[in-house]
Amino acid sequence: MTKKILAYIDHFHGKVQSSSWEGLGLAAAIAADSGGEVAALVLGDEVGGVAETAFHYGADQVFLAEDPILKDFRPEPLADLVKQAAESYQPDLILFPTTTRGRTLAGMAAVDLNTGVMVDIIDLDWSGDKIVATRPIYAGKLLAKLVCSTTPQIITFRTRAFDKPEPDTGRSGSVTPLEVGLDPGAVATTIASIQEKAEGVSLSDASVIVSGGRGVALNPALEAPADLDEEAADIWKAGQGFALIKKLADVLGAAIGASRAAVDAGYIEYDHQVGQTGKVVTPDLYIACGVSGAIQHLAGMRSSKVIVAINKDPDAPIFNFARFGVVGDMHAILPPLTEALKTHLAG
């Protein structure tokens, strides 16, 4: 039985990656069935507020380490504290969100605690003796069921795979401080600076994604400035296409995705790539504009709840995976679609 669950709360300077709360919801659901308990692990500098919020989302107890040395993400001292908390609490299961930091710390914890780690879980069955976890492999082309024979079992769960609980601001619990006990010079690495990117909706968190493929550069009505060479003209046209996508995304509060073809052609940064060598996403609504639907792209988005394909080629493979298909030029469809949605959402 999985009685004691430790859930890692991932945050950046105290701003919590909201999938962490999905982890607390999952932990609470398991604990409710086993008569167990949930502890949250909050590590950082001046993160007492995060600990408070962890109680609202279902933690019974919080292990808290606060120290300036923990302000910026450096995995080594944080992994030491994960180990310390695990040795003190003796959990059966440790949960991390599959974020860059969560993944790193889960991997290190598996080494430190001499156990295994099951990564990017999308489903979990705790009804039997052993937890059985399901995860996509080959970017979702296949699914694997996993079991871990050692304790604690360590899991990272995919963002949006489990429900986020409703916060209950009346809840509270006990805080157990962890001893940091490090000299500032004891950590080998130093963070010279941080480049924060402009706030936008991230692909992994998004409930709606509007994405563009090669078709973004194929607007027959556009004439690129004459001084551009062929490649620059292509990229300029793609920029106009993505501007239409952005307008629609802004109306929907959506994240912007792209196919590998669009990224490799230099139309948009790699950060936006959806697919086997990009991000795997599962939004409620995925609107693919000028995306043909290569198998690598489909692997990254076919689990979306509703897929809309807008493509002028009626034979594009993307239509086979779409709930709704619009055969037409995205450059002609997107402006009236954006306006119609704006009107609907305003009403």
Binding site: A110, V111, Y138, L142, A144, K145, T189
Partner: protein, 259 residues
């Protein structure tokens, strides 16, 4: 600067995957170097071109899984080591990391161990952090840029990616780094490189050569499945003009309750 770059052989990303009697099949799709690893090899070659030194490609796999090593050598890696042992069947990522760490030590260590950000088959992305943790070296994952590399002074500065942006990190060497696609487009192997790689000989080490027992796997995969294919009925949105199609689509989305 001595660099070890870890590479893996995987089925081509264009492969249609299936499960036959519990065994994963990729049909007749070709086997290739894990696409992410090409960025790590590219980074290793550029660092050595700048700093001097040599690049060793290290691959853990079944006997005969030579595509990754051959590709790394063809791109320009100087030497290669293959780790293969029947006892490694079914290893999990922690066990694989322990084997790789032992191999890195047997090679004589390195200033840098580079990985791709993850493999396109199991997608865990864990080996770089776990190998670093086992060796006790700093772990620098998802690196898109190397700045101020000073191999002779034993230090390096890198740009790490995370959800909120990037971190410029100063680290001592040796360190383990995973390289992202943002780093640079990997070079194509030259004709001469391919010829050299096809004739290259390199050692294949088993666990006895590494002087370690087979690490036990904690995580096993009792079942591998093809995902249930959702029955998708595609509705083509009617309309004579883009405006009509747009309005009809909005009506459908409202009816589907996804707005």
């Amino acid at each position: 600067m001595k660099i070890i770059v870890c590479v893996k052989q995987v089925p081509d990303t264009a492969a249609t995957m299936s499960v036959d009697n519990g065994v994963i099949s990729w049909g007749d799709a070709p086997l290739i170097i894990n696409p992410w690893d090409e960025y790590a090899v590219e980074a290793a070659l550029n660092l050595v071109a700048d700093q001097g030194g040599d690049v060793t490609a290290l691959c853990l796999g079944k006997e005969g899984e030579t595509e990754a090593i051959k590709h790394a050598l063809a791109m320009g890696a100087d030497t290669a080591v293959m780790i293969s042992d029947p006892a490694l069947k079914g290893v999990d990522n922690v066990a694989a990391s322990r084997v790789l760490a032992a191999a890195i030590e047997k090679i004589g260590g390195a200033d840098l161990v580079l990985f791709g950000q993850q493999s396109v088959d199991t997608d865990t992305g864990l080996l770089p952090v776990q190998v670093a943790r086992i060796l006790g070296w700093p772990s620098l994952t998802l690196v898109s840029k190397f700045e101020n590399v000073a191999g002779d002074e034993g230090k390096i500065q890198v740009l790490r990616t995370m959800e909120e942006g990037g971190q410029i990190v100063d680290s001592p060497l040796p360190a383990v780094v995973s390289v992202t696609k943002d780093y640079a487009e990997p070079r194509y192997p030259s004709f001469m490189g391919i010829r050299k790689a096809s004739k290259a000989e390199y050692p294949v080490w088993n666990l006895e050569d590494l002087g370690i027992a087979a690490p036990t796997a904690s995580v096993s995969w009792p079942e591998i499945m093809e995902p249930e294919q959702k029955e998708i009925v595609t509705e083509i949105i009617p309309g004579d003009t883009p405006e009509e199609k747009a309005h009809n689509l909005v009506d459908k989305l409202i009816a589907e309750k996804v707005l």
